[in-house]
């Protein structure tokens, strides 16, 4: 056990270097900076946007429309004189964002029940996501104007009718049912709230798995390249302890790195979903009633599933690392693992596992990394059998893979098995893997 900790300490020292720390810190800072910038931009967007209303009609209706724009979060400046071109030029020079022109005869036309046309000028200064948001708000302003005029028609023709009844004769009271429990709430809002609780998990998992796998495979490859592995294998350290110490060190460093990433990512993601975080009291009550909040049991199950997924990835990476001859080949070897992790992440994001075809469903279940991605969904759906089944499957696979990894380290395969990225001529006890134009050659090294 003492020797295990000696190796673990050495592995951590080897892995935690400025070369590994600087990119992590840099990404953390960049994400935090991005998050803050986006947040500030959103606050700017949330503030009333200036709009210049060119009221050429100067009527009661046109004045009313201006007040509707104020309600739609515009800061209205009304202009009643001048040519449109001059006004638009002036607004551009004064850094305004929109101009609305209400033509002469607008009120008369409305009263005669003839469709009227207003002109809108949206001043574009940049074409970023934030920059074009103002155009969408202009649509909302026009809808509000139409609703007001529609109400006006209804009231004038049928004073006894409530315009709200005409427009919305049928309304709904929405309930969401999970299992046998129902609660009142907007399904979209509920789904949004549930997703917010777990949306960070796949990103963390993906980062941890890829980082840990790369670290351990690189650690083994580097030991092989520098021939320090041969020295280690001839010392009294048990081979199992050697493998476990490497796995644990990679896991620790990957988890710490992921935590650091998350600090930055939280700020970034928070800014992206910032506008939708203001959940209604009904929705909050509904998710609590429906059990759609992760409780201690949920967190334990989710944690176990994620942990088991990481262990599976680490054991696969040990096996892949055993094939690596140098650090360059590690990248090529880890790529298929990245694909295997990415696949369930994407599939579970776009496909409903419950309605997927049996073949696809079992294919997804067969990939061990699907289970941590699916665990949260199953926990919220109270399908604990699937969660526990997934965890058992992940651990079973880990033990098999860890046994294979330990076997590789306890035999001379750790030194003799190699993967070359270049094809060689004759083979002596070797074989070649070919797939999609990439040729790998695995051979036994000759002494």
């Amino acid at each position: 056990m003492r020797r295990f900790f000696v190796i673990l300490k050495k592995e951590l020292k080897e892995m935690v270097t400025w070369q590994t720390l600087v990119p992590i810190l840099l990404i953390m800072v960049i994400y935090s900076f991005l998050g803050r910038t986006i947040n500030q931009e959103q606050k700017k967007q949330a503030a009333p946007q200036p709009i210049t209303v060119v009221d050429l009609d100067r009527s009661q209706t046109s004045e009313m429309l201006s007040s509707i724009l104020t309600k739609a979060n515009f800061k209205v400046t009304t202009v009643t004189e001048g040519t449109i071109d001059d006004i638009v030029r002036r607004v551009v020079s004064e850094k305004g964002s929109a101009v609305l022109v209400i033509p002469q005869g607008f009120e008369t036309g409305i009263q005669a029940q003839r469709p009227q046309k207003v002109q809108t000028y949206t001043i574009m200064r940049n074409f970023s996501m934030m920059g074009i948001q103002g155009t969408f708000r202009m649509d909302a302003a026009l809808s509000a104007m139409n609703e007001y005029i529609g109400d006006m028609y209804i009231t004038s023709r049928a004073p006894e009718l409530d315009p709200a009844i005409v427009r919305h004769a049928v309304t709904s009271q929405s309930f969401i049912t999970v299992g046998t429990t129902s609660a009142e709430g907007d399904p979209q809002e509920i789904v949004g709230l549930v997703m917010q609780q777990t949306m960070i998990i796949p990103i963390v998992l993906f980062l941890v798995i890829i980082m840990a796998a790369q670290m351990i495979a690189a650690s083994i490859a580097s030991e092989k390249e520098n021939k320090t592995l041969e020295t280690l294998l001839s010392t009294p350290v048990a081979r199992g302890a050697l493998v476990t110490a490497k796995m644990m060190a990679s896991g620790i460093v990957a988890l710490v790195s992921a935590a650091a990433y998350m600090v930055g990512m939280k700020s970034y993601m928070g800014s992206l979903i910032g506008s939708s975080t203001g959940a209604s009291a009904t929705a909050v009550q509904a998710i609590q009633k429906l059990g759609l909040v992760l409780d201690l049991r949920g967190y334990i199950l989710l944690g176990l599933s994620v942990f088991a997924g990481i262990m599976v990835a680490l054991s696969i990476a040990v096996i892949l690392g055993a094939f690596a001859e140098d650090l360059k080949s590690v990248q090529i070897l880890i790529m298929p693992l990245m694909m295997v992790v990415l696949l369930p992440y994407l599939i579970t994001m776009f496909i409903d596992i419950n309605t997927a075809s049996p073949v696809l469903k079992w294919l997804i279940y067969a990939i061990p990394f699907s289970h941590p991605f699916l665990a949260a969904q199953f926990i919220f759906a109270h399908n604990f059998t699937m969660v526990i089944g997934g965890i058992i499957y992940e651990f079973a696979l880990f033990f098999v893979l860890a046994a294979v990894a330990a076997r590789i380290f306890s035999t001379d395969r750790i030194l003799t098995m190699k993967l070359n990225t270049a094809r060689r001529g004759s083979s002596l006890g070797g074989w070649t893997l070919q797939r999609e134009g990439i040729s790998f050659r695995i051979r036994r090294k000759q002494g």
């Binding site: 190796i7 020292k13 390249e225 041969e230 020295t231 001839s234 001379d412 002596l428 000759q446």
Partner: protein, 241 residues
């Protein structure tokens, strides 16, 4: 007296390729025994089997009576192995590396310190031991690794190409270090394709080529037997026969 190493009819195959065709030799305690032969002769394979990191296809090797396959863990307690062109952890300092390796062998902190002190004395690197290994020259790294290999007082040191790629001065330093440390009774099994070096360093040599040992004897005995001035000429004649 019990032999430090007994190798009997040792064979090793990599797939269809047989690297060792059944070699046999013995090493006595305190003896420096060398396998000499060209690259690809099977020297490294033989050394790796004795160091318990490769398994033989057939035949046996016993280190102080312990079988390399059945008693590998016990053997690792009493041997040390220095691979050819081995590196060290470049982020560690020389002292950090010695301390790490000493901790793997030592039973307690006092023994660990004693090992590190012994290795520091042997290296002759002085204050440079406090620098990162990444800044060392090839000769300095080799001296560090050699001192690591002998600091634990192994009963059998296995050294592959001790001076490969080193300049003359560094090579002489390494040879003298090996000579000095065997005075305490440590047996050494080494390999080299530098036959003049072996002639200076070894008590006995085995001439190996294409996985077969052709002859074993003292450097002087072999030279006398074949009537040659040095081991290189002996080697050429033995291989041609």
């Amino acid at each position: 007296m019990e032999q430090a190493l007994i190798v009997e009819n040792l064979k090793k195959s990599y797939g269809k390729f047989e690297a060792l065709h059944g070699i046999s030799f013995e090493v006595a305690p305190g003896e420096i025994f060398a396998l000499i032969g060209p690259n690809g002769a099977g020297k490294t394979t033989a050394l790796r089997i004795v160091a318990t990191i490769l398994q033989p296809t057939s035949g046996t090797a016993h280190v102080y009576g312990m079988d390399v396959q059945k008693d590998a863990a016990r053997i690792r307690e009493v041997i040390s192995y220095l691979p050819e062109e081995a590196g060290a952890y470049k982020n560690l300092t020389g002292l950090g590396y010695l301390s790490f390796m000493a901790e793997l062998f030592a039973s307690d902190v006092a023994v660990q310190r004693e090992y590190v002190q012994r290795a520091s004395d042997i290296t002759g690197l002085g204050e440079r031991l406090r620098d990162r290994i990444g800044t060392y020259s090839k000769g300095m790294t080799r001296k560090l690794l050699l001192s690591r290999a002998v600091m634990t007082h192994p009963k059998l040191a296995i050294i592959d190409e001790p001076t490969s790629g080193l300049d003359v001065v560094a090579a002489i330093d390494i040879r003298e270090s090996i000579r000095r440390t065997t005075a305490e009774g440590m047996a050494v099994l080494l390999s080299s394709h530098n036959m003049l070096e072996i002639e200076y360093l070894s008590d006995r040599v085995a001439i190996i080529d294409k996985g077969t040992i052709h002859d074993v004897g003292t450097p002087q005995g072999l030279k006398d037997k074949y009537g040659k001035a040095n081991l290189e000429e002996v080697f050429v004649q033995v291989v041609r026969q």
